[in-house]
Symmetry: C2
Subunit: 369 residues, 2 copies
Amino acid sequence: MTPAKHSTTIEDVARLAGVSRAAVSKVIRDAYGVSPEMRAKVQAAIDELGYRPRAAARAMRGASYTLGVELPNILNGFFPKIIAGATMALADTQYQLILAPPRSDDDEGPEAIEALVDHQVDGVVTIGSRVSPAWLEELAQNTPLVAIGRHYDSAHFDTLVSDDAVGAALAVRHLYELGHRRIAHLTLAKAAVGSPHHVRLVAYKSVMAELGLTPEVILVDPGEEAARAASLKWLARADEPVAVFAAHDELALGVLRAVSELDLTPGQASVVGYDDTAIAEHPMISLTSVNQSGTQMGIIAVRLLLERIAGRTEHMHEVLPPKLQVRGSSAAPKARRTRGAAPRNTTTRNKKSPEAPTPASAKKGSSDV
Amino acid sequence: MTPAKHSTTIEDVARLAGVSRAAVSKVIRDAYGVSPEMRAKVQAAIDELGYRPRAAARAMRGASYTLGVELPNILNGFFPKIIAGATMALADTQYQLILAPPRSDDDEGPEAIEALVDHQVDGVVTIGSRVSPAWLEELAQNTPLVAIGRHYDSAHFDTLVSDDAVGAALAVRHLYELGHRRIAHLTLAKAAVGSPHHVRLVAYKSVMAELGLTPEVILVDPGEEAARAASLKWLARADEPVAVFAAHDELALGVLRAVSELDLTPGQASVVGYDDTAIAEHPMISLTSVNQSGTQMGIIAVRLLLERIAGRTEHMHEVLPPKLQVRGSSAAPKARRTRGAAPRNTTTRNKKSPEAPTPASAKKGSSDV
DNA sequence: CTGAAAGCGCTTACAG
DNA sequence: CTGAAAGCGCTTACAG
């Protein structure tokens, strides 16, 4: 097989097959009204020449058969799951996916989305951008649009979220039921109203109030390191068993760093994350985390977008139920001892231990199952 | 600010500014031969209308100002580093990046690259695809191309690799110097000649021979789970201290699962990975790994591609030096004891312990520094 | 320095 | 069912 020769055009195919360009166009689009012989002739010519239509040219008149996904942060393990889902959903269609990463580290503006639109994608899935609802609303006038992670209805595009209030409640109640009474929430300092992090924060506060507990919010900049530094300070000040509910797994990994540095057991400092990224399940990490099914989100986002492209105009707002994955990083509280009480460096995290039995829900890969 | 209105065209701008379309075109391309007043008038019209040129239309005549990157596996933490580097390198240019993920889980064919070419990108960076050199050679006749991870020169495109032979030697010698004599190499069953994994395997064998050791190769399918299963079997059969050099970090994480399940210490089963992904550095993983600087690769790939687009035709073959990051997963060999000899579940991995001092090269985030 | 015209490779009405 | 013609929004020679 040789690569697509983009020197060959629809004209070449038409000439070889002895038909018009319009006929070839119909065949490649699988359009109505082509005789079997015509189709066969044209297909043979296409195969012989290795012809592929150029998306750019198609886009100028009709559709580009391309969907664009705007990604917030390619280094965070959650987003690839969404892409994987979207890819699956597109497997049997003519559509292909292109991804637009942020133009810079803290690009939260519309640049990435605009790059997609510049390329005449037939529809856009936006995941991370912090652009205003109004901006999206206007974009959606011309471009079919699905926004992931926006907790509101919109007039002209679809929104798709995990039920972050339920997810946060799951996390807090889990820690409460284990026996924790001091439960902090570590989250990003900047979180737009209606964003997943904002909703989780609000839910955290309200569940804490319901439980009669005092909320403690630790605000951080993005990144594992910021989470490590902030939680280290907070954990060092406490001398009782505590728990930290981190707003996503990347932050939770930072908290686990701090816990590890301070040599604390899960009973002394429990940690719960959000997203259930692949690494959370690793037995050496074994992070309890709220799973919001990124794969499923990718699948649904593509389905919604395809529906819009096919003509649907009324807006949809889908809410997916999250699920708590209990693992070794959260355990019943156990008072911190004087350092000398047990031999240092012989405590073990993430393995079976009398004080913190690994939950039965731990998946294979753990020796305790 | 409002979204780009793709209903506004160059024609609208020209009319508003009272000039020709050609003049507007020159201004947006920053082309030679425009008077300052012309530029000002046109720019004002562009701003007023929120005009953005459509990449698809531009591509039909000139350039699309878009570079395409073909990604092998979005779930592997190494590739995002390359993207991050490429993004950085493009920050001050007119160019934007689009990414093409594989169309399916085991898509190793040309589909993703073709998707990019269909969109008339001005150049392509290919990272993972297993297409033949001949195919790429032909593609490169029409499209500026840089291939990452191909250990050979090519006539029409540039190649960029890390020195995988050196990297593998670094890993094996490190284990040897710690005192290991039984060092297995776990790698993918399918690895094309000239691919990084193939070069690492060949180097592994040759270094083992030099050292007078018997090579043991464990062949696996892609994925952490396959690595876990295969290494579990292998580790369970051994009753002496062993070491596993895994062909990349994802596989190494699988080996660490097995090590963890068998409750082995780094002295009993040392593990070295390749890529030095973000998670390797986490104190609870602390994986010794060969760093091949993905960020740097992304930067250089973009530089090479831009040079080609600017007109360079002679081919380049860049080789980057890898660096070993020593961490807690590799340690001096220590005989496995009868299980009862030491209290179970009190041994600790990844923390300071008499048998496996954490190397001084461990970064911050470890309590031992 | 500026503009009128042609053309990139497709698809879309429209006529046959 | 099939084809000739127009046109999508740009850039590229080319004239002025």
